[in-house]
């Protein structure tokens, strides 16, 4: 990298010298000469050759820089659909590299090849319908292939989540995420209403709904089971956010007033990734990718992917919201108080 910087500086210095050299010519050039239009002179040749140099240097530079960067890319996707979109991405990149190379090479090569030559006359060649037909059809066919593969992947990824998916809610706010789980008993998310939000009840859980009694929230970690579909129900409290889980190739906006969702199957636990990458500190991360204000760059949440057993253990270890904040029992309608009470006090819970 330092090498690159040094190279760049060198190039800059050389070019600066060239400029200086030329400037002397420039000053001479300021003397009015009325011989325009001029014959293109030596400069025309120099520029033509520069294009030829550019083809060579450019492609070496691109290939080298590309190879140099691959080690910084994300590791292989940890989700099933993620590996599919990755394959598709690299397939498309590979395919599109061909026209990238061909078109740029042709452009620069022709620039060099057909540079001005005294006495030469350009061909008068205004059209060729067959050629035009070919280069309309070929891109059209390539596009068709890309559309079809992409469309198939897209409709699978965005299809309805399987019945057995683990449903977890994730809510964005300035500047953080809050996860909510359906709870140990019914594993069902209770209703919510944004008007019920306050400093403790950060996602506005509605305690008139009995399925919310065992719900619990977590502001720092999202745990999910491995090899099982997970359905994220996504919402936002204040402004737009976007749930981005880079290693899972998951992204979906969080929109106030319009719940969104995304389901996927993670198939590598955090532990497995640690072993695979040889990095004992590896963590899956969740980021925000919709600008949401000054804390946008730091809306981090850690994602923990674990096997079913430890996942269940973790769920069991979490406290229902009602237990943490028993005062919310007041919000529960009279006929459900008894049912809710079991989540509140120590004694009631153990008596159960």
């Amino acid at each position: 990298m330092e090498l690159l910087l040094v190279l760049l500086v060198l190039v800059a210095v050389v070019l600066a010298l060239v400029v200086l050299g030329k400037l002397t010519g420039v000053v001479k050039g300021l003397n009015p000469s009325n011989s325009y239009p001029e014959e293109p002179g030596r400069a025309n040749q120099v520029n033509a050759w520069m294009f030829l140099v550019l083809i060579v240097v450019g492609f070496v530079a691109i290939t080298w820089s590309y190879l140099h960067s691959t080690k910084f890319y994300l590791p292989e996707a940890s989700s099933i659909h993620g590996r599919r979109t990755d394959d598709l991405f690299w397939f498309s990149m590979g395919l599109l590299t061909i026209p990238f190379m061909l078109v740029n090479t042709a452009l620069f090569f022709f620039a060099w090849k057909y540079r001005y030559q005294k006495g030469k006359r350009a061909s008068f060649y205004p059209e060729n319908h067959r050629l035009e037909l070919v280069w309309t059809t070929v891109p059209a066919v390539v596009m068709a292939i890309l559309v079809l593969t992409g469309w198939k992947a897209w409709s699978d990824i965005t299809s309805e989540a399987p019945e057995d998916a683990e449903v977890i809610e994730i809510t964005g706010k300035q500047f953080g995420w809050i996860a909510r789980y359906g709870g140990i008993d019914d594993n069902k998310l209770g209703n919510y209403d944004y008007r019920l939000i306050d400093a403790q009840n950060e996602v506005g859980i509605d305690f008139t709904d009995e399925t919310s009694f065992d719900d619990f929230t977590n502001p720092s970690e999202l745990h999910i089971p491995v090899n099982r579909p997970v359905l994220l129900k996504i919402r936002a409290r204040d402004v737009l956010h976007s749930v981005f889980i880079p290693h899972m190739r998951v992204k979906m906006d969080a929109v106030p007033g319009m719940p969104t969702k995304f389901w996927f199957v993670a198939d590598k636990t955090t532990e497995q990734m640690r072993a695979e990458l040889g990095n004992p500190d590896f963590k899956y991360e969740i980021a925000c990718t919709e600008v949401c204000g000054q804390g946008h760059f730091g809306m981090k949440m850690v994602l923990v992917v674990e096997d079913e057993e430890s996942y269940q253990k973790w769920i069991a270890s979490q406290q229902p919201f009602l237990k943490t904040y028993p005062e919310y029992l007041d919000r529960v309608p009279a006929n459900l108080k008894a049912k809710a009470a079991k989540y509140v006090g120590e004694q009631t819970a153990s008596a159960e």
Binding site: M1, L8, A12, V18, V19, K22, P32, N34, Y36, A48, L54, S65, S69, F72, Y73, T85, D86, S92, V103, N104, L107, F108, F110, A111, Y116, R121, A122, S123, P126, E127, L131, E132, W135, P139, L146, V147, G150, W154, R237, D238, V239, L240, S242, F244, P246, V250, K251, M252, V255, P256, G257, P259, E285, E290, V291, G293, Q294, H296, F297, K300
Partner: protein
């Protein structure tokens, strides 16, 4: 033909000569050429400011440790005590950079300059259909700019929600300091800007349709004029939609409506707004936003067509295909907007449709690229700075367009959306390509604008430094995007997955500063040439179009008769012809040596063309 004599003579006869005051001549001018220069100079000033802002935030990204305390005298509290850029200020910089570059530089600076300058000159008109509206168009733009500029000095800062100003962030003062007065001024400024665009656009369209000179049929229009026409139509259809989005946003902000707001809890209170949809705003925004990117690129493509044909000494390849593909692009650009919204939660089926339509648009774009390349094939290339920038433009357009094909694939966009991959895509295909169109146009038409030549060598050096510099900035940016780096991040140290690539960000910043520095070569060349450049001959590039048939024109463009047109604009290197170009004003009857059999039929029309004169605005005072 002793044009000069006839000209001097006819001039005094036809309209009496009265000296305009300084104000009417240079400031509140109704002459399209002066207005074009006003757009150009204003655009250049905005570009300098806009790019400076980007250098500032690139320093934050590339050298997060840098001590910027020395900027405190200028930026005050925006720089923290430890010499760092404030996160809020960072977002303001990103937002202002985007707004300025897209609207003020690449829309007004590019299309405003060249539509104004070239339309009357290339179609053979005395001026725009309405000089007054044209003048208003500039001054609305000027005031819009002034307001945006003022917003940068507010205590709470300018708008800071990205150039796309998505609500609720932009709608709620509580959400961000920039969403206060800064956002109000942004909206007012853009509303005025839209008025400016509409005044200009109506004028361009009317002028092209009604004021073409004798013989200038649609099939004899230079491609530049076609591109300006299509651009103006796009603007006329899409800008009002942005205006309505801005108005509804103003209502939401100030009058308690809920077009874009629903179920929001912010700043410790639940707002009463329900039933609105932030996604609706995005639909409205991108209904303009996507055509807008073509509003930016089409004029550049038009300019490039002229420059490449002239300097290859060859007819543009596939004139009709070029027009057809521009029309195709224009039409399709209205039905692809939701590719910016694949992951907003909109119906996935809709996503599939938009993916399909988006990928179709790549086809006419590809056709254009191929046509440019075949125009150069077996040409006799003159590497004027304009030609170099046009070649560069084609390269950047292709390289950036190809990544669009990846982004247009909704399945792939899941990962790439709002990462640096998108930033790299649109900077190549829109930012850099359109800027190259602008440079190309300036180098090519400077002699006609100022009657002076720009320095060719400096222009060539400027090209190479800029061209290489841009690729050095944006190729690595793709890698950063593939690695998953989100855009509009103040720093990359909060996450493990973004802490790996810091060298690359440093490299990009160095390349950006390098490229920025290279632009001073242009500024130097441009401003010194206005005063000290060599005097330009009438037709320095030996070009065929009408603007080169008048010498350093005053108001009214041609002294004496306006020219008549007998042929298409691309008779370069026609077999048999004495010179390697035949201007549009030369009748076929005087070029028997180079006429094709089909041309001879056109000789019969010449009499009829000559007898027409109804389009001279100065004669009939229509």
């Amino acid at each position: 033909m002793s044009v000069v004599e006839v000209v001097e003579h006819g001039h005094t006869e036809e309209h009496e000569h009265h000296e305009l005051s300084f104000w009417r001549k240079y400031i509140f001018s109704e002459d399209h050429k002066t207005i074009a220069k006003q757009f150009l100079i204003t655009g250049i000033l905005w570009a300098v400011l806009g790019i400076t802002l980007s250098v500032l935030f690139r320093i934050q990204l590339g050298f997060p440790e840098a001590d910027l305390s020395w900027l405190r005298p200028v930026l005050g509290g925006w720089i923290t005590d430890t010499g760092k850029i404030q996160p809020e200020f960072f977002l303001a910089l990103v937002t202002m950079h985007g707004t300025i570059m897209v609207f003020f530089v690449l829309t007004a600076g590019l299309s405003g300059t060249f539509s104004n300058f070239l339309i009357p000159l290339q179609i053979g008109a005395r001026d725009m259909a309405s000089g007054f509206m044209n003048m208003l168009s500039y001054w609305f733009f000027f005031v819009a700019g002034l307001i945006m500029f003022v917003s940068m000095f507010l205590q709470t800062g300018p708008a800071a929600g990205g150039w796309v100003i998505y609500p609720p962030l932009s709608a709620l003062q509580q959400a961000s300091p920039g969403s206060g007065l800064g956002m109000t001024l942004w909206l007012v400024s853009i509303a005025l800007f839209i008025v400016s665009q509409l005044l200009g656009g109506v004028n361009y369209i009317t002028t092209i349709i009604n004021l073409r000179t004798r013989g200038m049929t649609f099939s004899r229009l230079p491609l530049s004029i076609w591109s300006f026409l299509i651009t103006a139509i796009l603007g006329l259809i899409s800008f009002p939609v942005l205006l309505s989005a801005a108005l509804l946003l103003i209502f939401d902000r100030s009058f308690g409506t809920s077009f874009f707001l629903s179920e929001i809890y912010i700043g410790g209170e639940a707002l009463s707004n329900v039933g609105g949809s932030p996604i609706l705003f995005q639909h409205l925004f991108w209904f303009l936003g996507h055509p807008e990117v073509y509003i930016v690129i089409l004029p550049a493509l038009g300019i490039t067509s002229e420059v490449i044909a002239t300097n290859s000494r060859k007819p543009i390849f596939g004139y009709r295909a070029m027009i057809a593909s521009m029309l195709g692009i224009a039409f399709l650009s209205f039905i692809v907007w939701a590719h910016h919204m694949f992951v907003t939660g909109m119906n996935p089926f809709l996503g599939s449709i938009f993916m399909f339509l988006t990928l179709i648009i790549a086809v006419p774009s590809a056709v254009k690229a191929f046509n440019y390349i075949s125009t150069m094939w077996r040409g006799n290339l003159h590497f004027t700075p304009a030609m170099l920038f046009s070649i560069g433009m084609v390269s950047l357009f292709v390289s950036g367009g190809l990544t669009g094909i990846i982004l247009g694939n909704s399945a792939l966009d899941i990962q790439l959306h709002d990462t640096y991959f998108v930033v790299a895509h649109f900077h190549l295909v829109m930012g850099a390509a359109a800027a190259f169109g602008l440079f190309s146009g300036v180098y090519h038409w400077f002699p006609k604008m100022y009657g002076k030549m720009m320095n060719q060598t400096l222009g060539q050096i400027h090209f190479w430094l800029t061209f290489v510099g841009l690729y050095l900035i944006f190729v690595p940016m793709h890698y950063v995007g593939i690695a998953g780096f989100p855009r509009r991040y103040y720093q990359f140290t909060s996450y493990d997955f973004t802490s790996v690539f810091s060298d690359m960000n440093t490299f990009i910043t160095v390349a950006a500063i390098f490229t920025f520095a290279a632009q001073f070569i242009f500024l130097f060349n441009f401003f010194t040439s206005i005063f000290k450049g060599r005097k330009a001959p009438m037709n320095p590039w030996r070009s065929t179009t009408l603007e080169w048939t008048t010498d350093n024109p005053g108001h009214g463009n041609w002294v004496g008769e306006i020219p008549a047109v007998y042929r298409w604009p691309y008779d370069y290197s026609k077999p048999g012809a004495k010179e390697d170009f035949i201007p549009q004003t030369v009748p076929h009857s005087v070029t028997p040596e180079s006429n094709f059999p089909s041309d001879n039929a056109l000789i019969a029309e010449e009499k009829q063309i000559e007898s027409q004169n109804y389009n001279d605005q100065f004669k009939t005072g229509h």
